[in-house]
């Protein structure tokens, strides 16, 4: 059932590319239908997999001479992330309802990207995973370069090159693992059991982990993220923050930590308190959390605030992974889901609801527009999304970040303290953006005030209502009833920590 999410998306992309040009309505409805069908399959697969362990979906030899299998499978982590992808895909289509320029091509690239993302989350063959991972790079480039805004060609190229450089690192590690294991199989399950030498894991782990973490926005390789997010059209930045950054984090977990568990072992010596790759990456994650939040605090462009907040929030995911304990890693997966929903919502409000009407994202200009009164829906939606993003109880972010912090405390208390600082700053930048964009009481000077009164900003359309309702609803539901995801995530994390078996 889950495999159909991939096939549907790619087939949808192909059909979109062949649809007649100039029929924007048809392209939209078709894309929505495909995305909803994909979501239905994701939900179905999620429901069917409840309480189950890893399930093999397809396993056929693909390149027999090299032992590559077309092996799709799903465990709890995959199922949760596939569900996230389905939700983000539907919301993304809803928020790109106003795309009029080359609509069918837009949705063709969009669905191809979604298909690649589904594929990564479901692949249990290292090779297949890598193939899907790279398939996702190209549509991203075109989505941003063709339909983007601020410095779009720069942002798109930077994103593509960062991604490709990261995947080159992964490919090196992949080739090395394949030749070292000698098991003549690229199945993740086989490789995890191959017993790769510890010395090999020691150098291969940081290579592969960094390669994937580039896409997860790990400091100091995060710089593609803000520029990419800002340049991207709304739906693409929703997907970038919502699912593409999760691809990186997922790769870190599924490939980095699962295949090379000994890469995290202590080196045997320590330098200024850092004695293993685990310490190194945890430090980078913490820096990312605090740095992202601080930089977000200083931005003048509304979308950059959200872009840097993504870097900060993804730091929690990486920190959670580095705790290497049950609660911290469960929190990391939870945070992937939660951030996917919330960041999507924030980007939707900033990029679609506000920017498409005001045509500016500069906080200094938004200040004068009294958006709180003129776009009350946007204001309240942003209040809710902001609260979710700050990690207020009742939203999914709270459950996720709390677990990461608890896990980090168990591992090393100072991680928690530093990350806690990040949360406080998170409140500050969200508050600042909220206040400046929507609730400022600064009055425009007479020259700035239009003589004929404020121009009409246009009513909120139904896709916007639906999209916001969908994302807010999911975040609230998961925040109030986290067990629905935790019950699926926890056994999978436990199995993964136990060393790859079932």
């Amino acid at each position: 059932m889950l495999a159909w999410t991939i096939y549907l998306s790619f087939a949808g992309a192909l059909v979109e590319a062949l649809l007649p040009k100039g029929k924007a309505g048809l392209a939209r409805w078709f894309a929505l239908a495909v995305a909803v069908l994909g979501l239905a399959h994701a939900v179905g697969g999620f429901a069917a997999g409840m309480g189950q362990g890893r399930m093999i979906i397809v396993d056929v030899p693909w390149v027999p001479t090299m032992g590559v299998h077309y092996l799709l499978a799903a465990d709890g982590i995959s199922r949760v992330l596939v569900l996230l992808t389905g939700l983000a895909a539907v919301a993304g289509v809803l928020f790109s309802w106003n795309i009029e320029y080359r609509t069918n091509e837009f949705f063709a690239f969009y669905l191809a990207l979604i298909g690649g993302v589904y594929g990564v989350f479901l692949s249990f063959d290292l090779f297949l995973l890598f193939v899907f991972y790279e398939i996702a790079i190209v549509p991203k480039y075109f989505l941003i370069a063709i339909w983007g805004s601020t410095r779009r060609e720069y942002g798109a190229m930077k994103l593509a090159l960062y991604s490709f450089a990261g995947s080159a690192m992964v490919l090196i590690g992949l080739l090395a693992a394949y030749t070292t294991s000698g098991s003549h199989s690229t199945s993740l399950i086989d490789l995890a059991h191959a017993g790769l030498p510890v010395s090999f894991q020691m150098w291969c782990f940081p290579l592969v982990f960094t390669g994937f973490a580039i896409l997860a926005g790990m400091w100091p390789f995060h710089t593609w993220a803000p520029t990419g997010h800002v340049a991207a059209p709304t739906a693409a930045s929703m997907l970038l923050a919502g699912v593409v950054m999760k691809l990186g984090a997922y790769g870190c977990l599924r490939v980095g930590i699962w295949l090379f568990p000994h890469g995290l072992d202590p080196w045997g010596f320590s330098l200024i308190g850092i004695g293993s790759w685990r310490d190194v990456f945890a430090l980078l994650a913490v820096i990312g959390i605090v740095y992202g939040a601080l930089v977000a605090l200083a931005q003048t462009d509304f979308k950059f605030v959200i872009g840097y907040s993504s870097v900060s929030h993804m730091g929690f995911v990486l920190l959670g992974l580095m705790t290497l304990n049950q609660i911290g890693m469960t929190g990391a997966v939870m945070q992937m889901f939660s951030h996917g929903i919330i960041a999507g919502l924030l980007f939707a409000i900033v990029g679609r609801v506000v920017y498409e009407r005001t045509h500016t994202r500069q906080l200094a200009e938004l200040e004068k527009m009294h958006l709180g009164k003129r776009l009350p829906f946007a204001a309240w939606a942003f209040v809710i999304a902001g609260m979710a993003s700050m990690g207020l109880p009742g939203f999914s972010g709270f459950v996720a970040e709390l677990q990461v912090l608890v896990g980090a405390w168990i591992a090393k208390p100072w991680w928690t303290i530093a990350a806690g600082v990040g949360i406080v700053i998170g409140v500050a930048y969200t508050w600042r953006a909220l206040q400046k964009a929507f609730f400022s009481d600064r009055l425009p000077t007479p020259e700035e005030h239009p003589k004929t009164g404020w121009p009409d900003l246009g009513a909120i359309t139904w896709p916007e209502y639906t999209g916001v309702a969908l994302l807010v609803g999911v975040s609230l539901f998961v925040g109030l009833y986290p067990r629905i995801l935790l019950d699926t995530i926890e056994p999978a994390v436990k199995a993964l920590l136990a060393g790859g078996g079932q």
Binding site: E105, F130, I146, A160, L161, L175, T180
Partner: protein, 505 residues
């Protein structure tokens, strides 16, 4: 050896030569009064038929090599047959591209020269003897010089041919010089005997002369595959030659030359198998740098590293798409040379290299096809000529997208599998720090290469067009291009097809 054996062993070459003569007779005799379009079409189709006949002959003659005494002259079967079959298929594709071109009125001669050059390629792919190798290389090269100059009204074409010819003559001299040293050391022109003799000669202190010979030969063959620092002809030739000729140079000539390098590699590694036993009896422990293999491998490694780095970096700065393709060809040659430098005893390396060079040849023919269509419509091969291609001809733009992404090595296209196969073979031979570092360098540089491929695709898909009038392509050209793109996708999705075919010989 009698003439019947000779005929059987050279059946494919003979088929091509007969077809070449037939084309000239038909074109200059029967069709003298016919319209140019008809003449071009018939000449090209006759050429394709010749390739098909030769293809069939490769299968028939597959098991028959040719020996003089106990010296093998022409090998057959195995990777030789694969390379020959590949050469014939690629030649046929470049001939089909001719149908939509208008650079010459001498269709018959053009096709005849292509077929003769292809026959030279077949000889090179199977040759095991220095003299045969040289004859084959010259037959191939002379054809290529003529093809480069074939657009008689174009000054660029003449300039490119002159440069190519001068460089080629020089490199042939180097090659011959190296060959003469090898003959002096070993007293034989047979590849296997030379390698064995060079082993003993270096054991008895005759190594320096051998190294000089190897460097000379590397210069000669490095020119053929456009490896740095013998690459200077490539950008000019790719830019000036008529598009079908450029496609031929970029694909068929590469396949033939790499097949020759595979012959050398195979002969060397198999020699070492035998030496392994000799060692205990005759010489004692093997000194370092004994025989050909290690210095040869060192030379190839240096060429590979230089080609990868310079090719990829120089391509970044190009504004002409043909020159960009030339530098990317240099970079790809670098990757392949890496595979040759770390050559395995099993068939893994030979198969991986053939897989790479065949799929690369296929892709690059398609790329030149697209360039030629755009060039005819806009009169330029500059990056800006591709502006708005997705509007002017969506199908052509889609083909361009597939081919360039494949060259960049994006899965699931065939270029990705080729790279993976090749690098896995390199690491399969030795997972030491040097090969590993070189593979890492190659992968890092292929990340760089994405930038320049995207420069072209960006113009085709992203940037606003200045001129939005549709571009028309000849239906045959379009059909060939779509078929190539479809093959690139299909072989990428089912990589085992081609691997199985290569391994089946």
């Amino acid at each position: 050896m009698n003439y019947a054996d000779l005929f059987r062993a050279t059946l494919p070459e003979t088929a091509l030569e007969i077809a070449a003569l037939l084309v000239v007779i038909v074109d200059l005799g029967l069709l003298r009064k016919a319209a140019l379009k008809t003449r071009v079409a018939i000449a090209a189709l006759l050429g394709v038929a010749g390739c098909a006949a030769a293809f069939w002959a490769v299968y028939v003659a597959g098991s028959a090599g040719l020996s003089a005494g106990d010296d093998l002259l022409l090998s057959a079967g195995g990777f030789t047959s694969v390379a020959q079959a590949g050469i014939l298929v690629l030649t046929a594709l470049t001939l089909l591209l001719l149908i939509g071109s208008v650079f010459t009125r001498h269709a018959g001669e053009y096709v005849a020269v292509v077929l003769m050059a292809a026959a030279g390629g077949l000889v090179v792919a199977s040759a095991q003897d220095l003299l045969v190798i040289f004859v084959g290389l010259e037959l191939l090269s002379l054809g290529l010089y003529i093809l480069t100059a074939f657009a008689k009204s174009s000054g660029k074409s003449a300039e490119a041919a002159m440069k190519y010819y001068l460089f080629g003559g020089m490199s042939a001299a180097f090659l011959l010089f190296g060959f003469s040293y090898l003959y002096g050391i070993s007293g034989s022109t047979n590849l296997h005997k030379i390698l064995l003799a060079s082993f003993y000669s270096s054991a008895s202190g005759g190594a320096p002369l051998l190294y000089v010979a190897l460097v000379m030969i590397a210069a000669g063959l490095g020119f053929k595959v456009a490896a740095v620092p013998f690459h200077l002809w490539a950008p000019d030739t790719y830019e000036g030659a008529p598009a079908p000729a450029a496609a031929f140079i970029a694909s068929v000539s590469k396949v033939a030359s790499f097949a020759l390098l595979i012959s050398i590699g195979t002969a060397s590694v198999h020699l070492l198998d035998g030496v392994h036993e000799l060692r205990l009896v005759a010489i004692g422990p093997l000194p370092k740098y004994l025989g050909v293999w290690i210095p040869w491998s060192l030379i190839l490694t240096l060429l590979a590293a230089a080609s990868m780095v310079l090719g990829n970096l120089a391509a970044l700065a190009q504004i002409s798409v043909r020159r960009l393709l030339a530098y990317s060809a240099i970079a790809h040659a670098g990757y392949i040379l890496l595979g040759l430098a770390f050559f395995s005893h099993s068939n893994a390396s030979a198969n991986a290299i053939l897989y790479y060079v065949l799929t690369y040849g296929l892709t690059t023919i398609g790329a030149f096809g697209v360039v030629s269509v755009v060039e005819r419509a806009t009169g330029s091969d500059k990056l800006d000529a591709f502006l708005g291609l997705h509007k002017r001809n969506p199908l052509l733009a889609a083909v361009l997208l597939v081919l360039f992404l494949s060259l960049a090595g994006i899965p699931p296209l065939v270029g990705f599998w080729a790279k993976f196969n090749l690098f896995a073979a390199v690491l399969g031979v030795s997972a030491g720090a040097v090969p590993f570092g070189l593979v890492a360098l190659a992968l890092a540089l292929s990340a760089v290469s994405l930038y320049y491929y995207l420069q072209v695709l960006k113009r085709a898909y992203v940037m606003q067009a200045v001129d939005e009038s549709p571009i028309k392509a000849h239906p045959v050209t379009m059909a060939v291009l779509v078929a190539i793109a479809a093959a690139v996708v299909a072989l990428g999705c089912f990589p085992a097809l081609l691997q199985g075919w290569i391994a089946s010989f």
